[in-house]
Symmetry: C2
Amino acid sequence: MNGIEIRQVFKRYGAVQALSNVNICFGEQKIYGLLGRNGAGKSTLLNVAANRIFADGGEVLVDGERAAENDRALSKLYLMSEKTYYPENMKVGTAFRWAKNFYPEFDEEYARNLAGSFVLNTSSRISALSTGYLSIFKLVMALSVNVPYVLLDEPVLGLDANHRELFYRILLAKYGEKPFTVVLSTHLIEEVASIIEDVVILKEGKVIRNESREELLSKGYTVSGGARAVEDYLRGREVLGVDAIGGLRTAYVLGKPDRSNPELEFSGLDLQKLFIQLTGM
Amino acid sequence: MNGIEIRQVFKRYGAVQALSNVNICFGEQKIYGLLGRNGAGKSTLLNVAANRIFADGGEVLVDGERAAENDRALSKLYLMSEKTYYPENMKVGTAFRWAKNFYPEFDEEYARNLAGSFVLNTSSRISALSTGYLSIFKLVMALSVNVPYVLLDEPVLGLDANHRELFYRILLAKYGEKPFTVVLSTHLIEEVASIIEDVVILKEGKVIRNESREELLSKGYTVSGGARAVEDYLRGREVLGVDAIGGLRTAYVLGKPDRSNPELEFSGLDLQKLFIQLTGM
């Protein structure tokens, strides 16, 4: 089966069970959102998938082959992660040239063009880049490697609003030209809600949702109104959570709305709000 | 005069003029938003204000005293910055105890309570924290030092949506109890738009806006409608920028709206959109 298959993966750090029986398949040519709170295990999962961290149990397959110590399987994926593994003092432009040794499809010209779009100075030392520009350097690398599976761990960390917009546009343009698999882990859910097709939500090391965005959002709705009317409405229904502002209530409810009370307003779920309700403490 | 006064500050890195004749006063008991694109000079400015970077020219006064090599002046301010200066292997809880040596008003109990609210493990090593939890550790420190001037450089970097919300709530609660000066530098402008009172915008090392949020937003408006109608309307007006989606246009305009064409929709400016228009390339 093609794709990245994560099978029964467990990983523990000291007293913390970072991943607990995780089973996911990231299929071909799709954009996934990997969502979870701080500490939910997203980075650990991506590092396990890319063979940078060894799981305590379970396995990772790439296009049906076990990934562990399998260069052919691993050459099909690229992880943009928090950590960078470039030699001290290496310059941005040197890294672009160097990348071809590891990723034969790396497109240096495209990388230099992207650097131009983001005003990233190719003669800067990687170690001297600001948080935002380090992210830009890393995402330029990730967009230029041309492998079938690209895992992006917080690609817009420290990016300004204009640069975030630019990144989303470039990602979609590249995907539109020649689709590939993108697993996008981010805390800026609102911004990526329209980009991602499938949503995987991790909570405390477990997968709590794994379905298409449409499916997920169609499972419930939002109801707003005066506290009394909303509370009456919610009785006997499956409620994910309620936000209160003064005497007003907004509730996130599973199922289909019953619009018989004209005092109540109904609308669809919003991915970020739903996420907060599903993962809140 | 009380406050942090930044006078005619210049700073150059190689070929890049990071700060160019910057003059700002951060007054007492106010929440400032320090906004700017990646590379605009925000972090450099905050580091100069906190005497961590020496300017090439100009000076910084804290409550009327020159800050350079002046411990009394510098003890009144705290900078939460990208860099951390904790000994290798120091644990979170040790840092809380240690902080009192440098900041006599540091409230260790409050810090431990905040750590509890964010589920930050006080026995973790600082160097082992994830991006999100490192930000949480740093903002707990910044909220517990109890000095009159707190400078926050990207306090929510890597924080999930729930933790960002929690931080904003805690910041406002603390400010409401005993106001202090907060200078908040962030790329998540929408989220802080309702918190900040004054806005300072840097562009390429220069201050291009420095006024209250109300004042800034009252200077213009948004007009939307069909491309033709909007283009006609814009003729002879001062236009900050135009967004196009299909045949629709949304324009950001300075001045007062003329509502005579019923096909056009008018609304106020939104800080993030205005920022993008003011600082876009």
